[in-house]
């Protein structure tokens, strides 16, 4: 029960962060990626703001090795930079550049009730299923 409640609260905080920074607006994201056009540096501030918190605090939490409830941390175990990682990131980057949407903002934007967003989210889930089925 508690993990779901804290997760709900932190999802709300994350969603507020995405919308206050306007990263939910694909025009902002495309504006950042369009270095040859009228470049929009907003995304740099968002990454900078997020990393200003996570960069110093993650190592401290990792050193504790457990959550405040005494549960073990569940961290990724892979360390190798392989073809899968790079090809996957490249495919994601192309989709990101085409739509101006990555998974967080796409899901948060479901709040707009836009049919185009619903379409994108359904396609994203289908893409995840394809990858889980054929590439795992």
């Amino acid at each position: 029960m508690l993990p779901a409640l804290s997760s709900l609260a932190l999802g709300i905080l994350f969603g507020l962060g995405l919308s206050i920074s306007e990263m939910t607006d694909p025009a902002r994201v495309i504006g950042f990626l369009d270095i040859a056009g009228r470049w929009d540096p907003t995304l740099i501030c968002v990454m900078g703001g997020a990393l200003a918190v996570t960069l110093p605090l993650f190592p401290w939490i990792q050193k504790r090795q457990q959550t405040i409830l005494g549960e073990p941390l569940q961290l990724p175990s892979q360390t190798r930079i392989d073809g899968r990682l790079i090809v996957g990131a490249a495919i994601f980057g192309v989709g990101w550049g085409l739509a101006g949407l990555c998974p967080g903002p796409a899901l948060a934007n479901l709040a707009t009730a836009s049919p185009a967003i619903a379409l994108f989210v359904l396609a994203m889930i289908a893409g995840q299923r394809l990858a889980l089925r054929f590439a795992s």
């Binding site: 495309i30 996570t54 993650f58 994601f92 967080g104």
Partner: protein, 139 residues
């Protein structure tokens, strides 16, 4: 596009970083949205499923709250619906193959000093820039 949203970006970024840090400290989980969603569509109604569903519901509620205070959530569609469909497939497929997206690799992975996440983040930003350049200035 309007002027850069530098203060909003910074404040929003701090909130995103705080949410990611607290999710690790309280739930012991990485705030990678693509990974949270992937676990949501595979696992069904287990303890693992509930925290994921709660986080996604929270994401939508957070944006809805903002829209409620500000009157609207800015959303300027940048591609046709058929292109969005294709892009969505790529984003879903790519984030699973590459084990993460902007939040998992960009915000959390870099904070963990993960070389994999640094490589992935550099790759998707470079490919995003190249894609926008081709779409806006070549084709």
């Amino acid at each position: 596009m309007a002027e850069a949203n530098l203060y909003g970006g910074l404040i929003g970024g701090l909130l995103i970083g705080l949410a990611a840090t607290l999710l690790l400290l309280v739930n012991g989980r990485i705030a990678g949205i693509s990974g949270i969603l992937a676990g949501l569509i595979t696992a069904k109604f287990t303890t693992d499923w509930f925290w994921r569903a709660a986080f996604v519901i929270g994401l939508v509620c957070g944006a809805a709250l903002y829209g409620w205070f500000r009157g609207a959530i800015p959303l300027q569609q940048q591609a046709s619906n058929s292109l969005l469909l294709f892009a969505g497939l790529l984003v879903g497929f790519g984030t699973r193959l590459g084990s993460g997206c902007t939040s998992g690799h960009g915000v959390c992975g870099l904070a963990r000093r993960s070389p994999r996440s640094l490589a992935a983040t550099a790759t998707f930003i470079a490919c995003g820039i190249l894609t926008v350049f081709l779409m806006r200035h070549v084709f």
